[in-house]
Symmetry: D3
Subunit: 158 residues, 6 copies
């Protein structure tokens, strides 16, 4: 059985993330969406809220589960018995950052392979921070995020 970890902040999960999760779920036997709790920047949503949104948005994908982690991604992946880290690439991705992370992770644990999938072109401009910015100015994010996230955002911004 091949298990993959898909790490990120998911603050909140977008339709671009969901697109990658769905693709990964057809390639790997199990996908663990892993909410990182490391970043210094204060997130809009707590890790529990982010997990909650992921679970609801992925409820139609039986081989996907959500988890929280802190520390090194490769250590978490190994602890889950995963041999693959999944990352999404957009045409507008920060390739340098993605490559730095992947090469570092390989150096830290070369038994875990980073695999890049390509997001749907219509989501090429989409990021969590964009969703938060548009939302905070009262713009609609319907179609950019799962409907559960629309609810969470409107509650948070009320």
């Amino acid at each position: 059985m091949r298990r993959a970890v898909y790490p990120g902040n998911f603050d909140p999960i977008t339709n671009g993330h969901l697109d990658i999760i769905a693709r990964a779920s057809t390639i790997f036997d199990e996908v663990v969406v892993a909410v990182g709790m490391n970043l210094g920047k204060s997130p809009m949503f707590t890790a529990e809220e982010r997990m909650d949104m992921i679970r609801q948005a992925c409820s139609h994908l039986p081989n996907v589960k959500a988890a929280m982690y802190t520390g090194l991604t490769v250590v978490f992946a190994a602890s889950q018995g995963a041999s693959v880290i999944v990352r999404g690439l957009r045409a507008l991705s920060d390739f340098d950052y993605e490559f730095e992370m992947a090469l570092t992770n390989r150096r830290l644990d070369d038994t875990i392979e980073t695999v890049f999938l390509m997001t749907n072109a219509e989501y090429s401009f989409l990021s969590s921070s964009l969703v938060k910015e548009v939302s905070s100015f009262g713009g609609s994010v319907e179609g950019l995020v799962p409907s559960v996230v629309v609810d969470f955002l409107s509650r948070k911004l009320r």
Copy 2:
């Protein structure tokens, strides 16, 4: 009549910005230089000071005016009756950011088109933050910013 909005922080306006404004003023009937007041980071100059510098630097361009705004750029553009958002591209631009913004704005309001103009090559390295950094270390910014900005900077840094 075609009105265009040129949004930015202009903290302060540089000769690169001025170059784009002058070019836009020959293509569109009216250009509104729109000073954004959204950003979390604290600017060096108040929105009023930034407007003041823009007005003085553009006094030779009769179809250019300055305005402040908060919230979504497309909403401001629509409120001004503008059908075009102008952005400058430098060879060293952050294309990804520009594309993300343009695609997002299109999604929020597809009646407003983003139009990119190219800065003069001699300004390819020029940015407001660079001007502030060089100034704060006592370097000269003559030739990089309109002369009114030289005055504002020296007063601010005194």
Copy 3:
């Protein structure tokens, strides 16, 4: 009146080109789609065929016309009384090439401004050469090119 020239090879016109033409036609009073005949590489379609496809694909846009030209683009634009050259940018564009062309054209005639519009994200991968490659292998290009081009391609490849 502001007239714009949109130069290219259009061998053949794609839905990405058509998207840019439609956008330009809302910003400028007249758009001349200019089929270049300079390139050393032998095109799949003659200049006349390319003009024919453009005309049929743009028949719903009354302020768009097609023309052929040889020589420098800025000289052709000036001969048409155009003050603007339009270019489309895709997220996957060759920015360096676009910048080189725009800066060269500015140097050759600084009264003509190059204006960049952004293609719809769903066409970010689309190019004429791709269309020809897919076609030649028997793949379907429906949805990638105007329907008139589908006909021209199938006749050419028969």
Copy 4:
């Protein structure tokens, strides 16, 4: 069982290719290294020679086989019962080309997913054309290609 196709020209196979093949062979149950015969440019080695070099270089990887194909990659992949196309990314890759291909392939057959793996950093500069250029000038390519390729090259260039 998950089968992956790794398409390319492999003219000739390099240690960078071999690195990607070995990584793919740990993620997928079977990897088909697919030698494309489409390109207009005349290759240095015949498709049979390229297959021969691949087979010898991969003889230690039991779940890897070589094949030739012509036409669309997705059609070949489907004919092999493969659900994944593997591509290697180098820090110096032509991302735009890779993205164009992947988005086109997805459009042609959305049941086949493109998966990108990252080449070892020490091969970031390595390409088949470089190997041929260095070889043709009498430079050593030891360490850049499998040893079987060194032999093929020296025979070809004799």
Copy 5:
């Protein structure tokens, strides 16, 4: 005699920095590794600690010395009698930032030339912030930094 300045934060020095220093020391008669004290962000190590690590890591390079500076890099370089600023490029460098700095420095003092050297490919992913991030999560940085830095890091993080 040609003296070169290699400016940076070196918070802390990595094997990638050391690689550039060693290369520069073969090209120029003297290399001054210049620890910048300007940045708003609070560094992990004091300027003195950073100098100390540089001196120990470079003790085998007789024509290399360390210095601290504040203010404009070109002013510091001139004060040292240096005619060259050295910068390292990685395949994953932020070229735009490097170009902006180099063009700005040229504008501020055109008698000082910026010279770019290329880091060893195996360090293409390596940065000081990565070293700190990996360290803080308990990952090993052996092989990424000089051994003296391993000691400093473990003391700092204890």
Copy 6:
């Protein structure tokens, strides 16, 4: 004494090349401008004509000389007693190509270091092929190339 080789096609030399040569001549004791004769593409000017133009354009730089070579650049550099290869970077350079070449040359001979200098921003769009294209359409290239090249071009295109 430090001797540097500046390799290229110089078909023909442009003001961008000349800018790099002048900068290199202040950093190194001797600069050999090395006209490559390897490329399959047929050049516009013979190697002798290219050398002739270089010599005339650089006659004011006493420590610059021109030479022709074939084969590997590092072998030529070593034969000249040079320890440095100089390359110019423009904001619009093909970085990937430059990096591939530099890493390959380092692998072939690690005693020779590639050093990158940055072209003047006003030449960021300038290339030999652009000069030839503009010239062939009757456009003026004054200011883009040394005056000797204007003469050579007009004679060649007559």
